[in-house]
Point group: C2
Chain length 289, copies 2
Amino acid sequence: MGLSARIDAAVKGAIASGQSGRPPQKLASALEYAVTPGGARIRPTILMSVAMACGDDQPALSDAAAAALELIHCASLVHDDMPCFDNADMRRGKLSVHRAYGEALALLTGDSLIVLAFERLAHGASVDPMRAASLVLTLARRTGMPGGICAGQGWESEAKIDLSAYHQAKTGALFVAATQMGAIAAGQDPEPWEELGARIGEAFQVADDLRDALYDEVTLGKPAGQDELLGRPNAVAELGVQGATKRLKDILGGAIASIPSCPGEAALANMVRAQAERLTPVAPTHQRS
Amino acid sequence: MGLSARIDAAVKGAIASGQSGRPPQKLASALEYAVTPGGARIRPTILMSVAMACGDDQPALSDAAAAALELIHCASLVHDDMPCFDNADMRRGKLSVHRAYGEALALLTGDSLIVLAFERLAHGASVDPMRAASLVLTLARRTGMPGGICAGQGWESEAKIDLSAYHQAKTGALFVAATQMGAIAAGQDPEPWEELGARIGEAFQVADDLRDALYDEVTLGKPAGQDELLGRPNAVAELGVQGATKRLKDILGGAIASIPSCPGEAALANMVRAQAERLTPVAPTHQRS
């Protein structure tokens, strides 16, 4: 099974477990809606790539970790799209969850996906309880307060933003979770893997800022120009398009250089290069003034 | 330290860990606001009582479990109070979180409390990884989909409600979590403890229906008469006040009879009786027609 098919199967399995028995049907359906279509699945791809570079000796744990991380990411998208945050009507080229199912079910969908993520990891205890608990701890730290993606969103309500803490939490956290959870799933110490995740996170943030500034809504599959519109800090406002593009390349070079020594080091470097090409914006379909 | 002080210390410790370092200040403050004042802390009290009845050989795990369960309960109150659900202005005699901090921070507060709950349990792996993972699994199953409190809320969006599944999920789930997590924290098999939790949950639901029908907003510390107003199914509509009061007593008798044989069986029965007295509504201050 290819990496992408393996991740899809892991995410589908997790959603199916959340829909089992006699669930309330609309919420059960919304769980699936929120995780499809898959998009790039970039976080679980990084996680799986690190696990494989480290030997992937317990594939069931890597599968659970990849699914859990993607569920948390999708939960954050569902909640971030809600009217009290971005008020986004579209996501991945279709109606956002709160537009398709209403706000109450969108709120519950996000909550349920968060919980399901930790449930999947806990099931891994039948394989290795220490690794399972370590996966829960790492994912929780990168999701909640004081340093996870919830904290990142929380910074947007402050009068004075700590920009470094903001970016690390809002975008970086789940990429650090990706590299560290990949290492943990394969029985390795997560600490040396933090830098790779942090650098990929920085690169992703800059790439996202570039896309938000350069692309239109149809290309993005979500509203464009939101950073400028909402006055959010971003790399394009700070460095211009050319400066931000150069910074993106520098960061990715540093990411590749930071990969710890491991059996699959070369393949992992190739994966980061492939993600880099995917990330870098190309000729915009419609450049806004 | 008394039980109530021990639970308070565990909850405070959990919140402090979510506020450590350089967090966004408003969200950090909202976490604390959402769990204070403590109210009856009935779920962690049951959890601790079961753990102590089973010997409480790893108090750090019982503390983590009690805190985690209370955080999940408080998260559900924060989200349920939001405009897309109950739109409640008041909770525990003060402004609800979304009224005090705004909707965006209320949403993030609930999310952060959920994540913090699982993080606390995962820390328990340093004591016993298998028990820690089992606590995560049990709490997740009783919180999310398809059978936890999220599912319970989800039923309220269905045209046709499965009443038994609805009550089990909406109110029963966290009481089952309480008894089972207490057993797990003390190294016991959780299965025989399910019935006690389920029966306490039923009793609590009937008592809550009685209070909603009999008490005014000042006494409740939240809006009264919501079940009738929102056409929600409830025991008073079904059985009348007298019938519901009798049913409450019968259920509590069954709960005490279901306590599994354990070293602290008698003390636990006394705790259930004490909770029963606390639950049963007394002379209403203002009976609505």
